[in-house]
Amino acid sequence: MPKLIKGDQVVEDNWHFVGLEDTDYSTYDRVILPLAKWLELDDAARLGGHTAPWIDSGEEFEEAFAKVLQAPMVVVHFPVFMDGRGFSTAEILRNRGGYQGELRAVGNLIQDQLFFLKRCGFDSYQLREGTDLEAAVRSLQDFSVTYQTSADTDIPLFRRR
């Protein structure tokens, strides 16, 4: 089973990611579905804990905001690691939506983005294939000082100095 970082631990990933073109995923117990597909599910299927939506980089999700906030987990997809739109998606879900569930970053992410991902509100991270996750976990602690507010920091440094 593939692994990912959850919190600051390396764990097995028991979710299956369903791409836009994938049609047959009935054999999987827990599936991460494209947002549009997930929204088509009935309430029981959406909220039963066995499905979660993934939001693509740049995908407009505000229209479905209320439903997304009910999901047991929300996944944000980064198609390339240089595409930083997912950082804003996470901030909006956490800060504006007050989303409390698991927020997962997937795609071609690199170790050196972990600290920023965590600050924006992600709490599980699937890094690009071939990453030494045990070593990568350390990057979650790259900095002990931050200036700004973010999903993980309500009070900016200037109000704490």
Binding site: Q113, V145, S150, F158
Partner: protein, 554 residues
């Protein structure tokens, strides 16, 4: 100037440790070139034509003598003994060794310096007016606001992977010496009818491939809201800026595509979620930061006496008079003046300074100007707080060092990027063009007669030499592997910023000085009384220049 506390120090030290680890992993082959690219860029490290290049941040251009000495040490120890001052008030090392860059960063951190976000698709060094805090026409010192922006933007988790680079400039005076209208965000400090301080916010200005003058999207933003509003602009840009084509990824393209009105409305809508939130600035924090930019301990001097004494020193000394006229400006405090050290002596790449010169400047800063110096976007340095009675001896020392070239603001005070001699992006060389023009115009009386005239040279359309906003702008272009130069006229970067218009077909390197001479002659023939070049151009237009330059020889 701003001094680090334990938080700032810790953050910069942790950044050094992070980059050291990244460099080790890169050298060990654990990080690919593609992945290392943004990591090194966000630490100012480029891989250039001949060697790596490291860009060091000089926040809003302020340098202490201690920092100058450390830069000298770094230039000598890690490089070939010189540094280059850029058009964004930063410093570049042209020959560092890749593996030694973490050590350089550690040495910078010792004197409260860094290279964080001096490149890459993130918020860059915030730039400002080199005469901040001393200019007679100043509404409010922009530097505390620059520092607040610096801290907010440093390692901002949401905005480290923007569509493209992002540059902010702040002006606190009526005359804009920070070129704010050609920045992604330009902030003009203003006061409203009630005397309350705020910002006029311009977005979407920029040079490069598609030069644009910024649009006003907020006439008066009360100071408390500065960071929440900036955060909102950045979020809109991060989400909606184009990412499919790097040449269309700057915020100016988004603002144009949407219109400034729509962009302003989107920002306003986003801002409603941030406004009055925890990022809202407090009086306490603003006062704390302002406390770092208090006035030095000026002596009480009779301004009229000081001026009389100076004039009598200048009597019969034409060289000193020239320098006073071009390189010294008035100060808000009686008896003081600000002195520009010209980094443009003929034969030296504009903005280049050696290690020994840096140390000498540090000594001068200590002796004459409360231990501080400033870099300018025109690639010069400024000693901002010099007693008028000390100007003569300072001038003598500057002459010996080669920094007294009395040409500030003239045609020979050329802004010039490193160009094809160093930069791997360049289409053409720019430094030899600058030198050839300086040699062609070596008659000081003629230069003074021409008055204020900016000539800016970029070696490619990325426009680091700001050619679009030079009264005369020169752009290096590549034509089938050969270097040619396109000339533009009529640009300016002040509060009435305009972009230059292309004169016509480009020229060979050898032709450029004569073409500039012809352009100047058209101005001289047409000007009315003391009319400046830019005013004459605006009155008579491009046609007479074009006719003269492209006239067929009989």
């Amino acid at each position: 100037m701003y001094r680090y506390d334990q938080y700032d120090r810790q953050l910069v030290n942790e950044r050094v440790a992070q980059f050291r680890n990244q460099m080790e992993r890169y050298v060990a082959g654990e990080i690919s070139d593609t992945e290392f690219l943004p990591l090194r860029l966000q630490n100012g490290l480029y891989i250039q034509r001949l060697a790596p290049m490291l860009r060091i941040a000089v926040p809003y251009g302020l340098l202490s003598s201690t920092q100058l000495r450390q830069l000298a040490y770094i230039a000598r120890h890690y490089d070939k003994g010189f540094v280059h001052f850029t058009t964004r008030q930063n410093v570049q090392l042209n020959w560092p060794v890749l593996e030694e860059v973490p050590d350089i960063l550690a040495d910078l951190a010792k004197v409260e310096m860094h290279s964080i976000q001096t490149s890459g698709n993130c918020v860059r060094n915030t730039t400002s007016d080199q005469f901040a805090g001393i200019a007679p026409d100043e509404i409010e010192d922009p530097r505390p606001w620059c520092e607040l922006i610096r801290q907010w933007s440093t390692l901002h988790p949401e905005f480290a992977f923007l569509p493209r680079k992002f540059k902010i400039a702040v002006s606190g005076s009526e005359s804009d010496r920070a070129a704010i209208l050609v920045h992604d965000i330009g902030l003009q400090i203003v006061k409203n009818g009630d005397g309350e301080l705020g910002f006029a916010v311009y977005v979407g200005g920029g040079l490069g491939r598609t030069p644009v003058i910024g649009s006003l999207i907020c006439e008066f933003l009360p100071w408390r809201h500065l960071l929440t509003y900036l955060n909102s602009i950045l979020r809109i840009y991060n989400r909606y800026g184009r990412r499919d084509n790097k040449f269309k990824a700057r915020i100016k393209i988004l603002v144009k595509a949407w219109s400034a009105e729509k962009f302003a409305a989107k920002v306003d809508e986003e801002w409603q979620h941030h406004k009055d939130g925890p990022l809202t600035l407090t009086q306490e924090e603003v006062e704390r930061i302002k406390g770092f930019f208090t006035l030095p301990e000026y002596k009480t001097i009779d301004g009229a006496d000081a001026e009389r004494a100076l004039q009598s020193q200048a009597l019969d000394n034409i060289d000193f008079q020239r320098w006073l006229k071009r390189n010294v400006i008035d100060h808000r405090v009686p008896g003081y003046a600000a002195v520009t050290l010209s980094l443009k002596p003929t034969g030296t790449a504009p903005g280049d300074v050696t290690d020994a010169q840096l140390e000498a400047i540090a000594d001068l800063a200590d002796a004459y100007s409360f231990g501080e110096a400033r870099s300018t976007h025109n690639q010069n340095l400024v000693l901002a707080d010099v007693e008028k009675s000390a100007l003569f001896s300072l001038w003598q020392e500057l002459q010996a060092l080669g920094f007294a070239t009395p040409t500030v603001g003239t045609l020979n005070d050329i802004i010039c990027c490193p160009g094809g001699d160093f930069c791997s992006l360049a289409n053409a060389k720019s430094i030899p063009i600058a030198e050839a023009i300086q040699r062609r115009f070596d008659d000081l009386d003629y230069l003074y007669d021409l008055g204020d005239l900016s000539l800016n040279i970029s070696g490619c359309m990325n426009a680091c030499g700001h050619h679009h906003v030079g009264n005369i702008g020169i752009l290096g272009v590549d034509k089938k592997g050969e270097e040619f130069y396109q000339i533009q006229l009529g640009g300016s970067s002040d509060e009435n910023a305009t972009l230059g218009t292309v004169l016509g077909p480009s020229f060979t390197q050898g032709d450029v000085p004569e073409v500039v001479a012809k352009i100047i002659q058209v101005y001289v023939d047409n000007r009315q009384e003391d009319e400046l070049f830019i005013d004459a151009y605006n009155r008579i237009g491009l046609a007479p220049f074009k006719e003269s330059v492209y006239a067929k020889a009989d």
